[in-house]
């Protein structure tokens, strides 16, 4: 065949692939948002879910999602950033370092359900935390840790060497240089990564099924004492998050308005994830402007 003709055909096929891809994904987003937005109302967002009747909302699930996310981040950020700093600043090439790197890689690629099973085995059963916010957050910490480690390491590696030299040449210790000079400088890029990972954690479901549980006690949003069993802040109560709720409603729900609840919940979930994404992008853009504005 004439090479020009082949060229034409092949390139059209490539464009076709791109068109299929974009239209699939656009349809997907469009479907979720269009179908879901009609089901979202103030009532839907602020009322409790119902086990049997129509008209339930997602107040508790939404709260749980954010609460689990916050606890996860409180646990992950210090450990993850420190681990990243270790890899970027302290690790010397050698067996230990490559072993740690392999471990980060393994953690990052384990299926989330495996992490969930581990969480069930250790946190839920062994430590006796039961199905709880804490168990869920700990499982998600395992799941999120490698992301934060990588983000931090990349953030530190992107810094110019002369800042570090400047600190060390003044007789600051390595640690002090990291703390007072490098960390503040790497902070914006680390923050971007953290927000992105927050979106991932927010949507995670498989790791939470067996750790945070599939039910929520009747939360009393006027009771902010973390020790009381129906307080929203209680760490040791079970907590069904929004994404688990979508799954549960679809697979074992017996309410008459499954479709409406699932549509609405999916849209809320997607919107939240989109917001995390846009926020991360905005932070990234801000940094770029600050850097080029110098």
């Amino acid at each position: 065949m004439n090479s020009k003709v082949t060229n034409r055909i092949a390139l059209s096929l490539i464009v076709l692939c791109a068109v299929i891809m974009v239209s699939t994904l656009a349809a997907l987003l469009g479907y979720i948002l269009v179908k879901g937005l009609t089901n979202i109302s103030w009532h839907f967002l602020t009322s409790e879910s119902s086990a049997f009747m129509a008209g339930g909302g997602i107040k508790d699930q939404l709260w749980n999602s954010f609460y689990v996310l916050i606890i996860t981040m409180i646990l992950t950020i210090p450990i993850g950033t420190s681990g990243g700093i270790y890899l970027a600043e302290y690790a010397r090439p050698g067996k230990l370092t490559s072993f740690i790197r392999s471990c980060v890689e393994v953690l990052a690629s384990l299926p989330s359900i495996v992490v969930g099973m581990f969480g069930m085995l250790i946190f839920v059963n062994y430590f006796g935390f039961k199905f709880s916010v804490l168990s869920g957050a700990l499982a998600l910490t395992v799941f999120n840790l490698p992301v934060i480690v990588r983000v931090t390491e990349d953030g530190f590696r992107a810094l110019p060497l002369h800042q570090k030299e400047g600190g060390l040449a003044l007789g600051l210790t390595h640690w002090h240089t990291i703390k007072t000079i490098l960390l503040p400088e790497a902070f914006p890029s680390i923050l971007t990564g953290i927000i992105l990972s927050a979106g991932r954690v927010f949507g995670e479901s498989a790791a939470l099924l067996f750790t945070a549980g599939m039910s929520t006690p009747n939360l009393d949003f006027t009771n902010w004492n973390p020790a009381s069993p129906n307080s929203p802040l209680n760490l040791f109560r079970s907590a069904e998050t929004l994404s688990v709720h979508i799954w549960a409603v679809n697979t074992s729900g017996i309410i008459p308005d499954i479709q409406a609840v699932a549509n609405g919940s999916s849209a809320v979930l997607v919107i939240c994830v989109l917001m995390f994404n846009l926020l991360a992008r905005a932070v990234g853009k801000m940094i770029n402007q600050k850097l080029s504005g110098r």
Binding site: L11, I113, A206, S243, W247, N250, V273
Partner: protein, 320 residues
């Protein structure tokens, strides 16, 4: 400008002028402000946590997963080759997990078959044909889609693909192909984004050399760019497959969860992840069926490790 050292004489004189040699002693190392042992302890401790997490996951899942063979005396061979999964305690229960292993493998392969051509094609489009808009519009859109939670994909599969299957191929509509399509679409953005990165990493000098000898765009892509990006493209596909393999809820929602061995892609089936998702909550810890589920988890873990190894090998070849 008269300068003299006396000008800054208010500085305490005991500053660092004492000794240049290192201080000895464990306590001193933690209290001395020149020491960095405190910071170092935090940092090293965190790095160590990562190791602990991986070792603990591997160790505990292995121990728990071996229980069904060691404690409950299930035959290992019949476990991984048997196709009869009958957990009813009253009648003679049998645990043959081959149907699930097969289900996981075929869903993964089918998903890769669905996703790969479209993903690689789109990646070429983004990185070779429409660089500007590929960068500016497609890339962010794809990155956003990578972040869409898997339950959402599952939910769409349930409301769109399953009814479609029911109408056109009969049966309940819950089948293996539906599962494969759902995860295929799910890994599409991931594979595309990594593949596009690896195509961008191909140096321009190679392309120029190809154009210089009169090759068409397609010849350049096919003979130069794709071979040069080869193992990275493979990495992208394998990464996608490992994600597809480990996906639980999205597949579970559409695959039908039949424990029988599927005879065609239009039969309902089950995978390792779906059977765990479905049954784990209903079984009591320590029961034979529960142990068998942990063994399935162990198989899942082992195959995940195999994927990780393959990815390592691929990326090592790339670095050489």
């Amino acid at each position: 400008m008269k300068i003299s050292k006396a000008m800054i004489s208010e500085l305490p004189d005991d500053l660092p002028k004492s000794s240049l040699l290192k201080e000895k002693g464990l306590i001193k190392r933690f209290t001395d402000r020149y020491s960095e042992s405190r910071g170092r302890t935090i940092i090293y401790g965190s790095a160590f946590t990562v190791i602990i997490a991986v070792v603990a996951i591997t160790l505990f899942l292995t121990l728990q997963g071996l229980r069904s063979f060691v404690v409950d005396h299930i035959n290992f061979w019949t476990f991984i080759t048997g196709t009869d999964w009958n957990t009813d305690q009253t009648k003679n229960p049998s645990f043959g997990a081959f149907a699930f292993i097969f289900g996981s493998m075929s869903v993964t392969l089918l998903a890769a078959l669905i996703a790969t051509p479209i993903a690689i094609g789109s990646a070429i489009f983004m990185a070779e044909l429409a660089k500007k808009w590929g960068q500016r519009i497609l890339q962010p859109v794809i990155e956003i889609l990578v972040g869409i939670p898997s339950v959402v994909y599952g939910f769409i599969g349930l409301t769109v693909i399953v009814p479609f299957m029911r109408v056109h191929f009969g049966g309940s509509g819950f089948n293996m192909l539906a599962g494969a399509i759902v995860v295929g679409v799910m890994i599409l953005p991931t594979v595309t984004s990594i593949a596009a990165d690896s195509i961008r990493a191909v140096p321009d000098s190679l392309r120029e050399a190809s154009y210089a000898i009169g090759a068409t765009k397609w010849q350049t892509i096919w003979r130069v760019v794709i071979p040069a990006a080869g193992s990275s493209l493979m990495t992208a596909i394998v990464l996608g497959m490992s994600r597809a393999f480990g996906e639980a809820l999205a597949v579970q929602m559409v695959i039908g969860n039949a424990t029988k061995f599927p005879h065609s892609i239009f039969d309902p089936a089950a995978t390792l992840t779906t059977i765990i998702t479905l049954s784990m909550g209903d079984t009591t810890t320590g029961s034979v069926i529960n142990d068998a589920l942990w063994s399935l988890g162990l198989i899942l873990l082992i195959i995940s490790y195999v994927f990780i190894l393959i990815i390592r090998l691929l990326s090592r070849r790339r670095n050489v």
